[in-house]
Symmetry: D2
Subunit: 335 residues, 4 copies
């Protein structure tokens, strides 16, 4: 039974707390949060103590920390936690700065502790089934990948301002999916973006609608489409054309009821938000982390992979500004 | 916080134990089972004591019992538990004998305790959404209802022999759905059945494939189709034609992945068994029971409704034998 | 090039005229209709002469007649045309009277001319694909067949009065589909029907909503559901459960466009009427007739099969009245 | 009744010949082709004369010509035909050279004859329904358009060599769809392409797989994906995210039959080739041309729109080479 501390008691921290509790191999023993009230509330719910980060890192009985704090603290906490001998599962992204993330990687590596980045979508049963079918050769060699990722509604502009921009904050998930499915980062990235949903988002210098193309050296192509506002729900689809066919992972709908009247046929919408769509993915993610630690196996999502997704985001951000394709060079990646 | 005892620690008892634990208004405090080992195993899992039925009924602190024992004990346990002042949620069917069930109804009524029958499908989110849309008038007046209910594989012949037959054991669920959707029992029933899946089932005098039609006095019609063996999974669909359109509740699939190759398009099957399809329904069912008790409201599924479903099963059994439509008469129902 | 005369210049006659013209092996040379205006109009459209039935039957150069007149003339015209040495394609049903149809069968047989009955649905590409997959063994042995057939709106009550009733007029198609798919007529039939769509239909003694079950001696079962009014279009589906899986032929939709908004997902309705759904089927039907004649092969739908469908309709009509299962006996079928 | 001559008797010329024949307002009177045998064969089929282009253009009774010759002759034939006072429907693209197409536009304009370019997909009932719903405001303002267009199999390399490249030959259709749906050409284009399906295509300097993004000045974005080889059929889909929802036009399938077995659920593939998918579109296209001529209305697809699609193709070709976004400037378009 591994003892675990949770850093960050916000919405996503609560989700993780449940996953930790549900896994028979892990036990949540402490919660920390910069806001004492949030920490107290969650700690009370799950019946554990609130502790400071320092105390948690000093506690030798704690084997792992789950970092679900704000993005600007991820790098430092990964470095400190691995220095303290803890295994780490850290929410995405590693950092908003690619350079900083690369430093963190080197530090964590020299600390010799396993670090997993929380790209939860890899554990979504729909996407995992697509990946499994592809890896089993069901559609031959991959050629053209398409990822659709639309949020139901944009976050507050105050959040947008500190988010690092759509490519680092939102599309980072899709970059990871593309790298995961195609087995490594692309050679070059082109990006266009618009602030068409809300001019206030444009006023911050960010975009709310974007299309990105990735190209691998062997010619494989991926297309990612993002919108901050689909309105009808959380639109999350992946489609992969291979040399022998097409695979697609479609949305999860609210229910299976259909209606036909003179007005036409109608059916349920996709589930509305990421907690509904990905609740099960978060649980499987945690189980995979625990399992890998127990087995001494490679992390299911490595810190190096977290850096690669950030490199794509960095390249896309630059391409959207310059109008030029941006190469993913060796210095943007982990050796 | 209502204290609850669970009578019956088999497969379905375990499902209910989880639902009781997940509801903040109820707490499981005791488990009983005719097989001490089963009781011990479940009790250990959930951290409660094994007790005898006698001790449970004598314990004044226990407010409700959930009866998940074998069918032949339902009637007696309902009678005893209500006599002991407990609220009851009892698995379907009330009894294999309609006469016995009617007696139980009268006894429970005089005991003055609420009794709910566990027709879990009413709480399935798909069927509940269909019912809600229908009740909201989205397709006008109901005219022709169709219920498809195919099991993935037949149970052992040893079970078939004591099951009361397909109409009482399996189609009982569908009779309840029809009565629930159309707001009361039908006026007459016709049934045909065949043992075409497995001659060994036929040898017991039972059928494995059946089609039943129900007709209400105002002309509404329902058609129920059952098969003990669909092979591909648990096929559970409802379709309702109204004066202004059609509603259908379709299967829940294993995932949303599709594939297209030169061999055609393919997709996932329906989930394989009732625990996958109805796990959530069982949880909602228990919550509805607790909620109704707290509010002093009418049970979400009454014992009288349990009797009505059994009356349909009785009529269908007779019709399948005689080849004649069988009327549901007043003496087959609760006053 | 076979010369063909068309008897009956109504709506369905016009459809057949187009099919005859489109087939390179057949040429329409004459049109007859009890209403001279109808005959003149169609004849002008397709550039042929109006002739009397007598003249057509006397014309030795005419090899085949297509009978698309009112039902009450079918039997006599089949008899006369085959006596005159013509091959015949006659619209369904053979007659409203089973006895009369049996006589017609015997007469046509002794006349030695091929007669095909126009059960167009066998030639619908959807249903034909289902049948082909079934015959290829893709779902093993057939066990439970379901046929859904809803019209968009009821015909005028004046038509209902002379129609022979829903079972003979409308469900006759579905009886033929069931016999076709299962390779022969059932052993017994149960039927219930209601006039719930329109009391005026009930006042004529007919029903507008019905459910029928058919059972074969080896246990196979078919369920047919009919409604005179679906409202949203022409709902035509077949579903077949076999020992190794399920086949279903679904509706043809108006288009493939889908929409998702906060109000839900929506899509196109089924095409509205039989001419849209079955236009291609009528054309394939005629081609199959011409092909069979050319090859001297068995008619794709025999007169005996037309009689069998009528026997089912007769049995269903009686069962709906008596509430008893009605056997299909040898005297109701062609030896 | 307008007399029409068909220039070009190849595969697509034959399709057009049928459409001309089926329209009551037009009559095919002559066929020309550089290969006399092709012209003779088609002329015999439809019962008209073979004539030279010179004779056709000199014939004052001929009101319109349909140009379905090889692409390198389009510009000259448009110029000559309009000079001869004929209305023109010309197959896409106008020319492989944008400069040449601009010259042709100016010539045709000064000749004062109506010219329509044969972008048949605008007339596909699926895409037309999507456009109609969008224009009716059903999903609000358009934001992000996605066009998927995969051929079942690549053409011969000999064709690729003279095709002008994927962007001008294949994606030209999709550029027109994007401009049509969004009401005008985009401001800039980025493109990437790979020869991943067949190295022999790469050896010609062309690509077989490509992703292009278009951006309008107000921020709207379109993404186009092309592959020369889907294998399973002709994959033709459009999806449009608007401020209030999503519209999608999906593939047309071979039939509506589905199967579920233990191996999963399966269904029909998309129809295999453009003639199956777009046969009806070609017919509607011709009818729209005849209708517009009769009404003296604007051509349903103007020559200026044909030039705009070519401008997009030109920009995409350049962007795929340079890795930079290419602006669509005023000099690339018709005043």
């Amino acid at each position: 039974m591994m003892k675990v501390a949770l850093l960050g008691a916000g919405r996503i921290g609560q989700v993780h707390a449940n996953s930790i509790a549900a896994n028979e191999g892990s036990r949540l023993v402490a919660v920390a949060d910069a806001f004492p009230e949030a920490a107290e509330k969650l700690a009370a719910q799950v019946g554990v103590d609130v502790k400071s980060v320092d105390d948690i890192l000093a506690d030798k009985s704690i084997g792992a920390v789950l970092i679900a704090t704000s993005t600007d603290t991820h790098s430092e906490l990964i470095e400190r936690a691995t220095a303290a001998g803890k295994a780490v599962l850290c929410e995405k992204p590693v950092d908003l700065s690619l350079e900083r993330a690369l430093t963190t990687f080197r530090t964590a590596e020299s600390n010799g502790q396993p670090v997993m980045i929380g790209f939860n979508r890899r554990f979504d049963p729909q996407f995992a089934a697509l990946k499994a079918a592809f890896d089993a050769g069901e559609i031959g060699r991959g050629e053209l990948l398409s990822i659709t990722s639309f949020d139901p509604a944009p976050p507050p502009v105050s959040y947008i301002k500190v988010s690092g921009g759509l490519f680092r904050d939102m599309m980072i998930h899709d970059f990871d999916m593309a790298c995961w499915i195609f087995g490594g980062p692309p050679a070059r990235v082109t990006a266009i973006g618009s602030a068409i949903v809300d001019p206030a988002i444009g006023a911050t210098g960010d975009v709310d609608t974007a299309a990105v193309t990735l190209q691998w050296d062997d010619g494989r192509i991926a297309v990612i489409r993002n919108s901050r506002r689909a309105g009808y729900g959380y639109d999350q689809r992946i489609e992969l054309l291979g040399s022998e066919g097409l695979l697609s992972a479609n949305n999860v709908l609210e229910n299976t009821v259909e209606k036909i009247t003179t007005a036409g046929a109608s059916a349920a919408k996709p589930v509305y938000f990421f907690l509904e769509r990905y609740m099960r993915a978060y649980e499987i993610e945690w189980n995979a982390f625990v399992e890998a630690l127990k087995a001494g196996a490679r992390m299911p999502v490595t810190l190096a992979e977290g850096v690669a997704a950030l490199a794509c985001a960095e390249a896309a951000t630059r391409s959207a500004k310059s109008g030029e394709a941006v190469a993913i060079t060796a210095d943007m990646l982990v050796g």
